[in-house]
Symmetry: C2
Subunit: 358 residues, 2 copies
């Protein structure tokens, strides 16, 4: 399977749409690019409102604000707010409540990133120095705590009891998954079940919540809410598998992360897991690397051999196939929902999630 | 003013009552010891139920559980659960809902301790190695996140909307106060307003919430809930002032903290703040110490001079006087509440908070 060609370098000042759009402009299928373009135009106002809300959070006043502001200003793709918006638009639309929940989803995401970067001793985030690299671990811990509480306060103010309960359960799952990941740090023998457990908790749980929150704000019937929750879970897994692929094949100038950042931080991701399953002779070399200090680049010999074996063992191809299969599962969850632009947009989002190159 | 004599060393296996009781057994007023004894007998069952609940939290299964278990097993005085229980007993009593809220208060407290110890790079907690010293910062960050979510889930399951909103506001205040404290780390010119802001957020806010939670679970009228919230705030300030006194005068074998732990971690506490106001010549020496690596003991010359000047400037006496004044304010808040054993017990708690030596 061909690895997607690296796109141009897209500066962070571009909108989330421009960043996502670049994924599709330079390669096929053409249809996907056209559909993404329509999605962009359609959601511009909703996500503009989310960005405006994020901009109102104080950037100064306390070190927690400063650290959190640094993280928020790194700019993200706003995929979770996009999920909330699209789910809401399947119902009564993206009103104030949906907007608050979309903001909360983005804040929960950034809160966990702040803590994850402390845990992983990460230096880079979205191509720029991570908050902890600029302000230190202490400030990042507090900044993460603050954003988490900000998110929960917004959900509390704007939502019903069930949604807040599910938000708490979601964060609980994210923390548990991060703990399992931390336990497995430096271990070369991560199995598939552990891997799925980790990414379901770490990534998919929040996509699921975002879909449920949007469905709830959109006033959808309970069976539609359930269908969208399932969509969110499948989408989240597809998204994380694509993220793993970017880690091993992406252009650091486009992804904003160093190549093999997962291995550098002691983590085995899915394409590497598959490669090691199929070429046991690589295990020793990788194990030696995992035992070294977090953050160091990979020895050139290991990096070259991994690049070769990721292709030769079919690991990349299988990982991309799996990402697409999850995206298709996600799309299948939409079948019971009313056809229309919001449903098409969700299908586009799933396709992009599995095939993105940034 | 005489500094309380050091009590015997009380091993951590003693109950919270035994730990608190020791404060009063060996010094006056006799009346206080008698009242505390009655309080102990009265609350034994309630706090036993809280401890039993805390014991059911998993200690293994994930590194987050292990880290949190270490923190919980260090044993605390259970003052916040005690507040919930006493407030509830002013009304319909300490039922299941009150117990869950009491557990939540203790979990919130321990969650913030886990993160605070990461922020302060603390080595000791309650006379034993802090969780971060045993398991590292990464696990302590996750363990704190987990306990926080555990606490919020319990409040969500057992309480009304308002109580959860207030819990979120309380944590928000605690995080903000910790941020101000962190900003002031290493600064010798902390002023009284900053100090009060910090301890109100860091300590008193959670006592306030605990009183409100107990009052709510006890079904008290709204004006009684408000009176108890005020009691909690005043009690919290008294408690923190006494904590500051223990930091500069306490016996490490009793308090479980190194002498001058605050200064060692870059913090100016209230007795030191007063001493520096009155002996400006000490500022330079203290400033030099604050600029050094966190955790190092104080040079003997500085430690001796501080001990002398804390007494000579009247700082200790004023700090103890202030702690007692806050305790009296707290007791005054109780005047509108129905007289009886619960009200007397709260008054005892306030007196002990201001005058404890462990």
């Amino acid at each position: 399977m061909a690895i997607p060609a690296a796109a141009e370098n897209h500066p962070r000042s571009e909108s989330p749409f421009e960043r996502l759009g670049a994924v599709c402009r330079e390669r096929g299928p053409k249809d996907l690019a056209t559909r993404l373009f329509a999605l962009q135009a359609w959601l511009a106002e909703d996500l503009g409102a989310v960005e405006a809300q994020l901009a109102t959070l104080p950037r100064a006043g306390s070190v927690a604000n400063t650290g959190a502001g640094h993280q928020l200003d790194l700019g993200g793709k706003l995929l979770r707010p996009m999920c909330v918006a699209l789910a809401a638009r399947l119902g009564i639309g993206f009103g104030d409540r949906a907007r608050e929940l979309a903001v909360a989803a983005e804040l929960m995401h950034n809160a966990t990133l702040l803590h994850d970067d402390v845990i992983d001793q990460a230096e880079l985030r979205r191509g720029a120095p991570a908050a902890r690299a600029v302000y230190g671990n202490a400030i990042s811990v507090l900044a993460g705590d603050w954003l988490l509480i900000e998110a929960l306060q917004r959900i509390h103010r704007s939502a019903d009891r069930a949604l807040l309960g599910l938000a708490l359960d979601t964060i609980d799952k994210m923390v548990a998954a991060e703990a399992v990941q931390l336990e497995n740090r430096g271990r070369v023998n991560l199995n598939r079940a552990d891997y799925y457990g980790i990414i379901t908790g770490k990534t998919a749980a929040l996509f699921r919540w975002a879909m449920f929150a949007g469905a709830s704000a959109g006033g959808l019937a309970s069976h539609h809410q359930t269908a969208l929750e399932r969509f969110g879970l499948e989408l989240g897994v597809a998204f994380q598998l694509a993220d793993d692929l970017l880690d091993v094949t992406g252009d650091p100038a486009v992804t904003g992360k160093a190549a093999f950042a997962d291995l550098r931080e002691g983590r085995i991701n899915y394409p590497v897991l598959l490669t090691l399953e199929r070429d046991r002779s690589l295990c020793k070399q990788v194990e030696r690397r995992l035992g070294r200090k977090t953050g160091e680049s990979l020895p050139a010999a290991l990096s070259s051999r991994l690049h070769l074996q990721l292709v030769a063992t079919g690991a990349l191809e299988e990982c991309r196939g799996l990402a697409r299969a999850y995206a298709e599962e996600a799309v299948a969850c939409l079948s019971s929902l009313p056809a229309g632009p919001a449903r098409s947009a969700l299908a586009t989002l799933a396709a992009v999630a599995a095939d993105r190159d940034s």
